[in-house]
Amino acid sequence: MTLVQPMTDFAIEPEPLLLSKSVSKMYGDRVGCLDVSFNLWPGEVLGIVGESGSGKSTLLRCLAGIDTPTAGEVLFRHGADPVNIFDLPEPTRRKMMRTEWGIVHQNPRDGLRMDVSAGGNVGERLMDRGDRHYGKIRDAALDWLGRVEIDGNRIDDRPRQFSGGMQQRLQIARVLVPEPRLVFMDEPTGGLDVSVQARLLDLLRVLVRDLGIAAIIVTHDLAVARLLTDRLMVMKDGRVVEEGLTDQVLDDPHHAYTQLLTSAVLSA
């Protein structure tokens, strides 16, 4: 028996992939999210928790470039230097969002093309990336269906013939196939049965680790956060009230609201 040898040299610090600088979103007088700043590094999985109305989905929409913040900046390392995603010309931003980012919607219908076959839903993303060889695209689509545990003989079926859990797995394949550097997920297991959730969660955990992608996951489920995330931000009334290592925030919460949130969980 020998001991594990550390090999990371911290002298070389990689740069953050995404920088949120004082991001705020107001709806008239009403606060969506307020003054949220953080950095996300490559391969890191960040969870955002809080009850409904806490601003977590609003923040995610700003970070993902779906909504424009009222104040603040979202910088993404696209090439050598971080760029403000809202300063980019629309076509550039769209292209970047398609190739370097992925968004997993809570409702798979928002992320899938329901009238296109399962294979087409996955293959389309490879064509966006520039792949043109039909046989290769079909092989890659088959490989990805296997990875998300969808039987290859369903490749020509349309998503509307799939169960909710299968649709969600197909959406995940569609998002991950171009190997994005950053994935946004809004309640990825939201509408699913508990047994289907468990299957999906483990799949996500392994895929995110094996591909080394960074992810931001919004969830109200603390067990999901514990399983999938490295770091956690707790939001209340649009503000981040506590953040840190996930197990630290959940096991030794300091803020009154986090203590309330963690003590309110029923353990099965």
């Binding site: 550390p6 090999m7 290592l245």
Partner: protein, 232 residues
Amino acid sequence: MTTMLRAEGLSKQFLLHTQNSVSLPVFAQVDFTVKKGEAVILHGASGVGKSTLLRILYGNYRPSAGHVHVLHGSQFVDIVTATPRRVLEVRRRTLSFVSQFLRVIPRVSTIDIVKDPMLARGIDPSEATRRAGDMLARLNLPERLWTLAPSTFSGGEQQRVNIARSFVDPTAIMLLDEPTASLDAANRDVVVHLIDEARNNGAAIIGIFHDEAVRDRIATRRLDLTAYRAAA
């Protein structure tokens, strides 16, 4: 011998906002160092803060004051002030926490649970499978269980899966919270041997053991927390 871990002025009090903001002081100004090849057993009556201290060393709890310097490769990292991703890197390669409870991930098989930390360290999957099997066999878990998820296992079986996962590829610092608690004599012996093996290979061990016999076999030194009790 090389210092592996240095605790400096550690204090902890819990402030419970949801329970009339009651403040629970645990301990104050705890200082100690642990060197390579030492096994330090935390001592003191129930409630003195042994588990709390162990969790602080792992970065799971945040101390109210103080620092935990851990030798990671060639440099010390302060677990208290390090960024989350640095703490995770230190945990991945240097610092392990072994409790008697397995956190079961739904649907993940026993062998995959044991392989998981090795894969995260970049060990070849076939080697990881072989080593995981050897370790499960050593802990008397029958091969027919390896492909099953341990959700339905007995407490003792889950505990051995957890120990296999941690000792299949031991790190330089091992934090042990009662890992032998409800094991039978034969399996307890195996675990004591695993701990000794890790220590003989240079691991620094910090642990809590209620069983007096186990404690005597493992300990090279005791640290009594009673003296650090914080005034209520």
